[in-house]
Amino acid sequence: MATATQTAGAPPADPIVVQVRSAAKKRRLTFRVQFVLTWILLIGGLILLMASGGNGLDGAFIATWAPFILGGAGTTVIIAVLAIIGAVLLAIVGALGRLSTNGWIYGAATLYVSLVRGTPLLVQILFAYLALAELGLVLPIFVAGTGALAFNYGAYITEIFRAGIQAVPRGQREAAEALGMPERTVFRRIVLPQAFRIVTPAIGNEFIAMLKDTSLVSIIGVTELLWRAQAAGRPNVRIFEAILVAAGIYWVLTIIFSYFQERLEQRMARSDR
């Protein structure tokens, strides 16, 4: 930032400029120290509080079982990734349906969104597992759980995509049409890439939310993070410690993926102003 004014051969900066610059630097440093200390104090305090209350925290249990619980993180991430891919694919179709001038297609897409948004995710997961089995369609629990998540998030992302497609300026479509592009090409080459860029931050948020909502599939027995935490905690009567470990892992996963999300957004924003 400041380097542009400090190129070799440049005249020495005015003393007031130097002072302003060093004051700004000091402010930034103070800010960072405050930030880090706040985190350390608050997190440390919280752990101390939990350790000192009632039965205290069983450190030995945590040390023994944390690796087992962490082993579920892979499943959690895999479910989240597969489900978000499924959701995005569903959402592209859903958004096209929501923008369709065909009444049948619009009706189907709107029903999908309404139905999914009008019922709890937990109910949908149980439905995918139990009700479909009732109808003779027995899905492996992993498929039922991941499918239900994709189906659910697909409806929300449908609306994100619909808004994203509508947010692409009309002039873009017109310019492409004026060049003689057929409707499909206009959508695939001009509208969709720009809509993707518009919705990327929102899809990232959905993925982060999905990462945590995968915990709901533990209820049908998918052996992901939360299921493993409960499996470790229950027989040892250390459910609190187990849940605490699971919560910590979810948190770390979220931080990691938030970082990637930020990077991705920066990359996609590069050709923008």
């Binding site: 300026p169 002039g171 017109e174 310019a175 004026a178 060049l179 003689g180 592009m181 057929p182 409707e183």
Partner: protein
């Protein structure tokens, strides 16, 4: 000026309704090869709508448009039918369009903008498309920006890139919709220069514009529109300097008055 050729663009009885609003009330226009026709008129006179009807970005309610060998009749009832859409597409391939706000594709570089239509629509081999696009970019003096994204260009550069893109289909006619209205004053000159060069090379052009001086210099014909009709059509010296129709007279008088008052309001000019 080059010798005018046969009629390339022919609009017949073009009418357009927006709801109950009768925006175009039956416009006829013939444009000959190598001719530069500028359409002027106050805002709301229907000039932009008429231009957009020529390549069916607006579907006319009544009438027909012919560009070179393709003639399309307005068919607002079966607008979405496949055969109608295909006809419109053929029409558009023969007419390049330059918009007021450029509408470059922001996710593609300048050169990618310029090869998109040839490679995707006309299936020109990529190398050949790039070679030709470079030629067009050279023509608009933008070859050095070929690998930039539009966001990194100035308004004038964007519009020149858009002109190059409109040329890539090698159209029979180039249509401009107020090409300099979104530009800062000091950037207008570059764009007008490029347009003038194209006119001199014999490109057939239809330009909707507010630039009266430019119309005076570069047009073969000026068309004045009012309330959805062409009320005067003739050489620039007639329409701009010696209009026959009272409505054109009034429009030109008001234009000259605002020009004078703008100059007089500059500091140092007030009496």
């Amino acid at each position: 000026m080059a010798q005018l050729g046969e009629v390339v663009v022919s609009a017949r009885k073009v009418e357009k309704y927006f709801g109950d609003l009768h925006v175009l009330q039956g416009v006829d226009l013939d444009v000959r090869r190598h001719e530069t026709v500028m359409i002027i008129g106050r805002s709301g006179s229907g000039k932009t709508t008429f231009l957009r009807c020529l390549n069916f970005l607006e579907e006319p309610t009544v009438g027909s448009v012919r560009i070179a060998d393709i003639e399309v009749d307005a068919d607002p009832i079966h607008r979405r039918s496949r055969s109608h859409q295909e006809q419109i597409r053929q029409l558009r391939l023969r007419a390049g369009m330059v918009f007021q706000d450029f509408n470059l594709f922001p996710h593609m570089t300048v050169i990618e903008n310029c090869i998109e239509a040839p490679t995707r629509v006309r299936k020109v081999p990529r190398n050949e498309a790039i070679e030709r696009a470079d030629g067009f970019l050279d023509k608009v003096h933008l070859l050095d920006k070929r690998n930039e994204y539009p966001a990194r260009l100035s308004g004038g550069q964007k519009q020149r890139a858009a002109i190059a893109r409109a040329l890539t289909n090698e159209p029979q006619v180039l249509m401009f919709d107020e090409p300099t209205s979104a530009l800062d004053q000091e950037l207008i000159g570059d764009v007008l220069k490029v347009m003038e060069d194209l006119a001199h090379e014999g490109m057939t052009m239809i330009v909707v514009t507010h630039e009266m001086h430019f119309a005076h210099e570069a047009a073969d014909r000026v068309v004045f529109m009012e309330e959805g009709l062409i009320v005067e059509d003739g050489p620039p010296e007639q329409v701009l300097n010696n209009p026959q129709d009272p409505r054109t007279k009034q429009f030109m008088r008001r234009f000259i008055e605002t020009q004078q008052s703008a100059v007089q309001n500059l500091p140092g000019w007030a009496d």
